[in-house]
């Protein structure tokens, strides 16, 4: 087991280096630097431009800047945002709970709805329900997130008035960010209305962000279940006279879950990617919106640090999934 963990963990290192390298050089390939971006029509005197570039170290050769950046990371320092002059790690820590809350709720929605839908579709293969689940999940998978989000806002927030349009809580509630997770913070606050408001604000964005994972999980569960349901041991179980619920719920689902768990793990990357759009539309103050802004403003430290932290998270989750997969399926653990 230890060898398995070490070999999986060792694969994180080259990925980590690759991400650092790419995020550093790719943003520098985009024309314009942080100073030119904010100059506007009036232009800037060449000597002043040179002075500001010098102060930011942008006049150094690229390899030199990269070397300095690597040394800085190895000291655990991701630098200061050029725009706000706040440490990148601090900004990430402030904004990440919002993304975490949204992503966890999104994946929960996806699992709670997707798993049973997939199971039932497989059990009732060829039924109207099966075709509906497959059709709806294909539509969900193919839909552009921003369009889907605006559609839901128009229906539920503007026309029906059931949910708020955007944000994490009504402006009348002033909840102090203790954990940064609004559901928990609002629950701790004295006002019961705050928690209700936080829940109502979370529904639409979580649903939008959970749509693609939901579709993937439903389809994956269905196909894994179909495969398992054709196995001999299922026929044996049925022949033994076990109830249909026990056959499907215990014997089939447990075995079908292995590929589904992997897919759920892989959805973490999709979630963080989708969060960028979802957060922008729902004015959700998380890291997705923060990263987009850093590209527009050419805030190099934020972009590099942010991408690195997000990549690290995705890698850790994937590592955890690998380990979990190994635990679920001993054949993988022993490399067979």
């Amino acid at each position: 087991m230890l060898r398995f963990v070490v070999s999986r963990a060792a694969m994180v290192i080259p990925t980590f280096l690759g991400v650092t390298f790419l995020s550093f050089f790719l943003i520098r390939l985009v024309p314009g630097d942080p100073i030119e971006v904010r100059v506007g029509e009036r232009g800037i005197a060449p000597e002043r431009l040179a002075l500001l570039r010098h102060e930011m170290g942008l006049d150094q050769p690229l390899w030199h800047q990269f070397y300095a950046y690597i040394v800085q990371i190895l000291h655990g320092n991701l630098g200061l945002s050029i725009v706000t002059q706040t440490p990148v790690l601090h900004e990430f820590a402030t904004l990440f709970p919002a993304t975490l809350e949204l992503s966890v709720c999104a994946i929960l929605i996806a699992i709670v709805l997707g798993l049973p839908a997939g199971v039932i579709a497989a059990v009732r293969r060829g039924s109207l329900f099966d075709h509906s689940v497959m059709g709806v999940s294909l539509a969900g998978y193919s839909m552009p997130i921003f369009w889907w989000a605006l559609l839901l806002i128009l229906l539920f927030s503007v026309n029906l008035g059931w949910t708020p349009v955007s944000g994490r809580i009504d402006a009348i509630y002033d909840v102090d960010p203790v954990t940064g997770l609004m559901l928990i913070d609002s629950l701790w606050s004295d006002d019961p209305g705050a928690f209700r408001s936080a829940v109502r604000h979370l529904i639409l964005p979580a649903l939008v962000l959970g749509t693609i994972p939901l579709a993937v999980i439903a389809r994956m569960t269905r196909s894994a279940m179909l495969e398992v349901l054709g196995e001999d041991y299922i026929r044996t179980a049925r022949a033994k006279g076990l109830s249909s619920f026990r056959v499907v719920g215990l014997h089939a689902l447990r075995n079908a879950l292995i590929p589904v768990v992997t897919v759920i793990g892989l959805q973490v990357g999709t979630l963080l990617g989708g969060a960028i759009l979802t957060e922008t539309i729902f004015s959700w103050p998380g890291i997705g919106k923060w990263l987009i802004e850093s590209i527009n403003r050419r805030d190099y430290p934020v972009l590099q640090g942010g991408v690195l932290l997000v990549a690290t998270l995705v890698m850790l989750v994937n590592l955890a999934v690998d380990l979990l997969y190994g635990a679920l399926n001993p054949r993988i653990r022993h490399g067979r």
Partner: protein, 531 residues
């Protein structure tokens, strides 16, 4: 008895639940982004200025909704005959805001004014390098070379000596970088080793004070009861950060906010129909134009430049490109600016006249030229590529073959300012509401140098004499006359085709009272009420 007690308790509980709390009047503004910080001197974006302006006051203020100035923290000022010495008399009894980090022990005085400008000006000021500040606006308005000295005469008198006469100096002071900081607070922060908090935990003398800021989520203010201009009618002001324009509109419709900036042009028609929403609008403080480089043939000939003016159907272009959020420009300054000359006669769309002028200039069969189109969307030109294509078609009708060229935005500006183009689309958004900021900065001879903002490289002595003279006198009526004459010369000499001023729309809910669109593009809530 038990039942009686329980009943009473239940009654109290129900009464408590049903009693509506005294709801404070809070104005919610759906802002478009997060501020960089709350330091108006170090900010570089309109979004950040919107967030920091409510907290502070300036020596001079713009009349809300206009480009004229009015006394602020300076009650009055005098200017020496040579235009070099400004003596400001400061207002007495102006209180500083009390925050968790700072309890003021004195009122606003001259020390605060000196500190505010020295922070931006003197590199040895301990706050000069805080917040990675580049003081872009202080530098862009030429302050480092304009200021000779700023001295405290007494606690309520400040003397500013300039190196050259420059009457827009007063308008400059009303810009966000002129927001006055507390010297006492700065000294306290320095002592505590927390100088970098000055732009994060702001203390000002303005109508609102900061309560809380959560990045990308919310900025919360309460009204400052001791504001020298009088307490506001609303109790609180909240900026709910909402980057997507469609979502801002949905929130406005749902009553989740009462004011929103920057609507989608596509939503304007629906907004006009909405009974709950008012849609105030006015021309923006900007100009989109087609620059003709007079140092390159054939644009050195005035007749050719005039011919281009006749050849382009600006009305059709502005209607197509702006979709109702732009108006055809006649002068290089927008109509909301004082000294705008409405008597100037514009060039009508007249291809026949254009051909006639081209023939007279020796180009009966037209000529070939480049036509640069900006790669980005700007307030004064939402789609330069489309505009260039429409111009290309108009020019083809009079025999001119225009080749559309574009570069990356930074490169585009640099090459234009170096004068590499023949014809190019460009524009300007005003900084301080002063006509000098357009007429002199964009069309004066000193800006016609390589790298200067006069991208047509047009230097007309008669025009230049007028704008330079207007810069040096302080009487506004007199200045306005000179600028009016300058606009006539500009039109006749035609270094540009003036294309459009954007129309700024700011949807508000009907319950909002006394809201005004600010020409400088800011969003200011002093004096705004709720029904």
């Amino acid at each position: 008895m038990m039942i009686g007690l329980r009943g009473a308790a239940l009654g109290v509980a129900i009464a408590t639940l049903c009693a509506a709390p005294a709801i404070a009047k809070t104005l919610v503004y759906c802002s478009e982004g997060s501020p960089e910080n709350f330091g108006p001197q170090v900010n570089t974006t309109g979004t950040s200025f919107d967030a920091s302006m409510p907290i502070y006051s300036r020596l001079v203020e713009f009349v809300r909704g206009k480009t004229e100035t009015t006394p602020g923290l300076a009650e009055s000022w005098t200017v020496s005959d040579d235009g070099l010495i400004y003596t400001f008399k400061l207002r007495h009894g102006v209180k500083w805001q009390t925050t968790a980090a700072f309890k003021p022990t004195r009122d606003f005085n001259a020390d605060d004014v000196i500190f505010t400008f020295e922070r931006q000006w003197k590199s040895d000021n301990p706050f000069h390098n805080i917040s990675g500040a580049a003081y872009d606006y202080f530098n862009d308005m030429g302050m480092p070379t304009l200021l000779k000295s700023i001295d405290k005469v007494d606690d309520y008198t400040v003397k500013v000596v300039l190196t050259r006469p420059e009457s827009p100096f007063i308008a400059d002071l009303a810009m966000p970088f002129g927001s006055i900081l507390s010297a006492e607070y700065a000294a306290q922060l320095l002592k505590a080793g927390a100088a970098d908090r000055i732009d994060q935990d702001p203390v000002g003398t303005g109508p609102f004070q900061l309560v809380k800021y959560e990045k990308d989520a919310i900025v919360r203010y309460k009204t400052f009861a001791d504001y020298y201009g009088g307490k506001q009618t609303i109790d609180g002001l909240v900026f709910v950060i909402t980057p997507d324009a469609s979502v801002r509109y949905a929130k406005l419709k749902a009553g989740e906010c009462q004011v929103m900036p920057y609507p989608n042009p596509a939503d304007l028609a629906a907004m006009k129909q909405d009974a709950a929403i008012d849609l105030p609008h006015q021309e923006g403080l900007n100009i989109g134009y087609l620059s003709m480089n007079v140092t390159k043939k054939p644009f050195d000939d005035k007749r050719v430049r005039q011919a281009i003016n006749y050849a382009i159907d600006r009305k059709t272009i502005v209607d197509a490109v702006f979709q109702g959020s732009g108006t055809v420009a006649k002068n290089p300054i927008p109509p909301i600016m004082w000294s705008y000359n409405n008597q100037v006669t514009d060039y009508p769309y007249d291809p026949a006249k254009a051909k006639e002028l081209l023939a007279a200039a020796g180009y009966p069969n037209g000529f070939e030229t480049d036509l640069w189109a900006m790669p980005v969307q700007r307030p004064y030109n939402p789609n330069a590529r489309r505009m260039a294509e429409m111009m290309q078609a108009d020019l083809a009708k009079v025999g001119i073959t225009a080749k559309i060229v574009s570069y990356e935005w930074g490169e585009y500006r640099k090459r234009m300012q170096a004068g590499e183009h023949q014809m190019a689309l460009f524009g300007w958004t005003g900084d301080n509401g002063d006509p000098d900021n357009f007429l002199h900065v964009l069309l004066g001879c000193d800006a016609a140098r390589v790298g200067g903002n006069n991208v047509s490289k047009w230097c007309d002595k008669a025009f230049d004499d007028l704008v330079v003279k207007a810069e040096q006198i302080s009487d506004q009526a007199e200045r306005a006359k000179l600028y009016e004459q300058a606009q006539v010369i500009f039109k006749e000499e035609a270094p540009w085709v003036t294309i459009a001023h954007s129309i700024v729309y700011e949807p508000i809910r009907k319950e909002v009272t006394n809201y005004k669109i600010i020409p400088l593009g800011l969003h200011i809530f002093e004096g705004v009420g709720l029904k």
